[in-house]
Structures are given as C-alpha cells and as structure tokens.
C-alpha cells in the first residue's frame, strides 16, 4: 500500500481554498499565469516535494507528489501551471554530475530557479521523438543550438529549460536511440541572444509556447550525463511524469463527480431532484467507477515505481485510464448541469477544457496503446 498522505492533502486543500474559482476564472479569461498560486505553493515547499533533503527538498516518494497534484486538481485548481517544477529536475537528479546537482538543485528547491520548461516536441517530428531536428553542435567550450520546439509549456515562466537536441546525425549512430543529448539551457541569458519564445494561444490557460533557437550558445558544462545518451535520460523520467499527470486527472475526476452529484441532489425539475432519475445517476456512477479503477492503476504504478521496478506499462496505462476517467466525469458533470454547465461561473467548462489535454499530452492515447500492444502483448511494433 502506498502512503495516503492525509496531512499533506489537507494542508494543500487549505492552501487551494485561498485561490477559489474566481481566481482561476480571471486567470483563464486573461490567459494570465497564476503567479500568486505558484508562489504560495513554492513558499510552502510543495514544489520541492521530490527533491532530496540534502538539496533542500522534502525528499518525499512519488506518492507524496501525486497526492499534492491530485489535491490541487480536486480543489478546482490547475496544477499544469507548475507541475513540471516538481518532476523535470528528476533528469538532473538522476543523470547530472555532482557539481550540476549542487549548483542547481538547492535553488530549484527554494524556487529561486524555476526548471519547468521541457523542450522535446517539435513541429515536424511530433510523437516521433527520434526524428527531432533541433541540433546541438560542439564548438569549443559550447554547443551551438539551432532549430525549433513547439508546445514548450511555461517557457516564459521558467529560468531553465531541459532541452533534447540531436548531437550526432541520425545516419551516423550505432543504435537508433543514440545521438540525442540533454542540455540544461539558462533561458534568462539566452532570450534575445539566439533564443526566441512565442506564446501559443490555446483553448485553455496553459502558458504554452514555441521556441526558436538561432545559433544559441550553451556551455558544454550544461550537458547532462553523456553526449548521445539523452533519449534514454528523457525516457527514464517519463514514468514519473505519466504517473503524476494521472494523479492530476484523478483529482479532476473527483472534482467533477463531487460537483455533479451535489447538483443532481439539489436541482429540482418536474418537482423532484434530477438525481432521482437514473438517466442522470448512471453516467455519474459510471464515471465514479471508472475513476476508482484508474485510481487503483495509479496506485499500482506508484507502488512499482517506488519499489524501483519498471513501471512503464502501468504508468502509461494509468495515464490513459485516468485521462479517460476525468473526461467521462467532465462529460457527466456538464450534462448534469444542463445549460449551467456552460456558464463560466460554475468552473465546469474551464475544467472540462483543461482536463481534455491529458488525452494528448504528454503522450497521446494511441501511443500508449501501441506501447501496450508491443511491450506487454508482444505484437509487432506499429510505428
């Protein structure tokens, strides 16, 4: 059994109550970054949950971070503004040198440095990460970076970016997964000196951007691990990311289900509560069952991850099932609310837009299914 972290959930809930629906609606309307919320979470140490104590974090297991993120969503908030500050540092922690860790982790733990931008996806390669075209070419003590990333979320609200770029041409590597490298880019110095960030307007408030590299010089000292091994380093962090996103979806699903069942009991039409009709009850009850099943998968993935086992299949399935459960719950919630579900004031349409993302990012459902088909069921690789 993973720890339930009741005390953490309760205190995160109290913190979130300082940031009610009005707060999130205003940010959503203005497409503004929820800086005050992120500052409060940082100040209270929650974003440093996974950083080891020796670097100034809380040193919690993954279940602790999952509890924090689930609770934020469950309270109606949007952890997408800062969830990556919790886990991107994992790559640095696992594969960085002692000097790099000592240089960055303590300041990431206090929040003085934000490492919450992750540059992997590119416009032309999409899900096919190995086809990415951004290059980093060694020149003296620097790498010179050229290319473009897309959907680099929070780039405008991050000091550092973890960048995946090609350091050896694809046709010159021994293994197809070789030749990519991870660089830690200091964006504060880089903007205007080879780095351009352009916000992308999306259907929800997610501070996502496209990023252009034009002969950007990155010190070779900022290479994480060994040159050419970057793809493996990124993969090793993905299970944690998927599990945490899954936990967020569980929080969303619970929020939708709470709202829907409360409204179903209250709203009177034809002289009785709408929740007395099975047509209203069943979708909500089904969404609850779906959420619980997904939650159990999240717990199992966490258990494996914390035991040091390969949680690949469970982490992926947990993300898929949880994202589908939050969507089903959102659908039931909006339908239960009838016309009111569309009124911004109820927060449902906002959460509905926000939770939809997780069937696409950080990995889309189809790719999870291909993973399961290939790696769990032994069918031929389809991509």
């Amino acid at each position: 059994m993973t720890e339930s972290h009741t005390a953490i959930r309760e205190e995160v809930a109290k913190l979130c109550q300082q940031f009610p629906g009005e707060y999130w609606r205003a940010k959503d309307r203005d497409r503004a970054y929820p800086g005050e919320f992120v500052a409060a979470l940082t100040e209270a140490g929650y974003l440093a949950a996974l950083i080891p104590e020796e670097y100034g974090g809380a040193g919690l297991p993954l279940s602790g971070a999952a509890a924090i993120l689930e609770e934020i969503q469950r309270q109606g908030g949007n952890g997408g503004a800062c969830h990556a500050q919790m886990y991107i540092m994992g790559t640095l922690l696992r594969h960085g040198s002692d000097a790099q860790k000592a240089q960055y982790l303590p300041r990431i733990a206090t929040g003085e440095l934000r490492l919450q931008a992750f540059g992997v996806t590119e416009p032309t390669s999409g899900t096919d990460t190995l086809a990415l075209k951004t290059t980093a070419v060694r020149d003296g003590d620097d790498y010179v970076v050229n290319g473009q990333k897309i959907w680099t979320s929070r780039a405008e609200h991050s000091d550092l970016m973890l960048l995946l770029a090609r350091t050896s041409p694809r046709d010159q590597v021994a293994k197809r997964t070789d030749g990519l490298s991870v660089l830690l880019v200091d964006m504060r110095a880089a903007v205007g000196n080879g780095l351009t960030i352009r916000p992308i307007d999306t259907m929800m408030n997610h501070a996502t951007t496209e990023v252009f590299f034009d002969n950007l010089r990155v010190p070779a000292a900022n290479l994480i691990g060994t040159e050419g091994q970057g793809f493996r380093y990124i993969l090793s962090g993905m299970n944690a990311e998927r599990i945490l996103i899954a936990a967020e979806c569980i929080g969303d699903a619970k929020w939708f289900i709470d709202k829907a069942s409360a409204y179903a009991k209250e709203r009177q039409v034809f002289g009785r509560p709408i929740g007395q009709n099975q047509g209203i009850q069943f979708p909500i009850a089904r969404a609850y069952a779906q959420m619980r099943a997904a939650e159990l998968m999240v717990h199992d993935a966490i258990r494996q991850y914390e035991a040091g086992e390969n949680a690949g299949a469970e982490a992926n399935m947990a993300k898929m099932l949880a994202a589908e459960a939050s969507w089903a719950a959102g659908e039931a919630c909006i339908q239960t609310h009838g016309g009111f579900g569309f009124a911004a004031e109820y927060d449902i349409e906002r959460k509905f837009r926000e939770t939809r993302l997780y069937q696409v990012a950080p990995i889309s459902t189809n790719l999870i299914l291909s993973y399961v088909a290939e790696h769990v069921l032994g069918m031929p690789r389809s991509y």
């Binding site: 009741t6 005390a7 953490i8 309760e10 205190e11 995160v12 109290k14 913190l15 300082q18 100040e43 209270a44 140490g45 929650y46 440093a48 949950a49 809380a58 919690l60």
Partner: protein, 249 residues
Amino acid sequence: MKILVPVKRVVDYNVKVRVKSDGTGVDLANVKMSMNPFDEIAVEEAIRLKEKGIATEIVVVSIGVQQSQETLRTALAMGADRAILVVTDVTTESLTVAKILAKVAAEEQPGLIILGKQAIDDDANQTGQMLAALLGWPQGTFASAVVPNGDRVAVTREVDGGLETVDLKLPAVVTTDLRLNEPRYASLPNIMKAKSKPLASKTPADYGVDPTPRLTITKVVEPAKRSAGTKVKTVDELIEKLKNAGAIA
C-alpha cells in the same frame, strides 16, 4: 509563557451532515473529519504569540477517539510544539472535557489557555466557561483580539452591542471568535517535522475523570424544510396576506 490549546476533531465544516434514520444522531460513517474551525483559530493565535516572542511553548491537547491524533498532528504542523491525546471512545461532554482540561492545566501550568468558543458539532459553547470556573481563572470569551501585556491580557470580546475589552490577570482562559485571525496552512517541511514532535497518549483515568456521559440525547431531527415564499407588491398586500395566513390579527 506556555500556552495550552485544546482542539477537537469534528465533522468537516464543508460536509452536509445527515440525520441517522433512527434519530439518535448524525451519520458519521465515511464522513470527512477535521479540526474544529474555532480551534484552528486558537492554534493560530498561540503561534502568532509565539512568533511575537510572547509565548515560549505551545501544548495542544485533544480528548476523543484515537484518530484525534491526526487533528493534533495538524496543530503540530501549523506550529505547536507538543501534543497530549486523552483517548476515549465515549461521546465527550463539555463538563467531562473541562474537568480533564483542568487537570491537564494543573500539570502543565500554562499562562494562557486558548479554546474555540464552540465546537461546530454540538455548538455547546460552554467548555471554556466551565474550565475557567473549575480553575477559578478569569475568562475572556468570543475574542476578536488578544493582547498580553506583562502579567495581564487584554481581550476584546464580540458582544451583542459591539466590542468590549476586558483586562484579565494571567493565567486566564480565552475563547476565540471567527474574526480573531485567519489560520495558516502548514508548509510541507512543517508537516514532515510534525511527524516527530512528541505526542503523549493518556486516558481520562490518568486524570481521575470518569468520562461516562451524564446526558442522554432523546432525539435528533433535521431542520424543517422551508416552503416557497410569495412576492408582494405593496405593504397593504403584505398585511392582507399576513392576516389571511393568521400571522397577525
């Protein structure tokens, strides 16, 4: 100065409670429990006094079921120093609690005891007053400001007519009202630290108090449903309607 803060585990204020079908009480199965909100204000006030250098130690105490431990840990995470849990499974009545608290106070010798003015489960609003009487200490109830000064404390009270300030000699008993402060949420490092703060486990017998209830609840009912109202256009129409309804003669 040491401050003693009693805290109670109650149904969370967000929960819509339901009366049990046999009318013996409210249904507590699978219901979220939390620290009584007025007690949170009491803990917060004690922590603020410690941050100002007025208090030196904050001891929190709870009387109730084993799970009240979680409520005490919440107080420790907020910033209290140590905790005492007096475990009992029977329904805690105000007088029993006041008697146990009086014994705890005799042992701990606090300069100030800060309690919530009432617990939101039974809304009795009497434990603080009973405790002050048992100890023979002065009391300042419904506090919206607590200002210690040397061996005295000025307590601003929210009374029907407005505000009243009483000047009490320490040691004293204070009960908190809603506007005294806004309680903090605990930080993650403090939640972690709270796990290793001392928590002593006791029983009512350790204090020589018999917790057997002396009151019997005869019946618990839901508040009557309000029926729909009607709108009137004029005062005359209003009077007419009230007369027809037999509300006025």
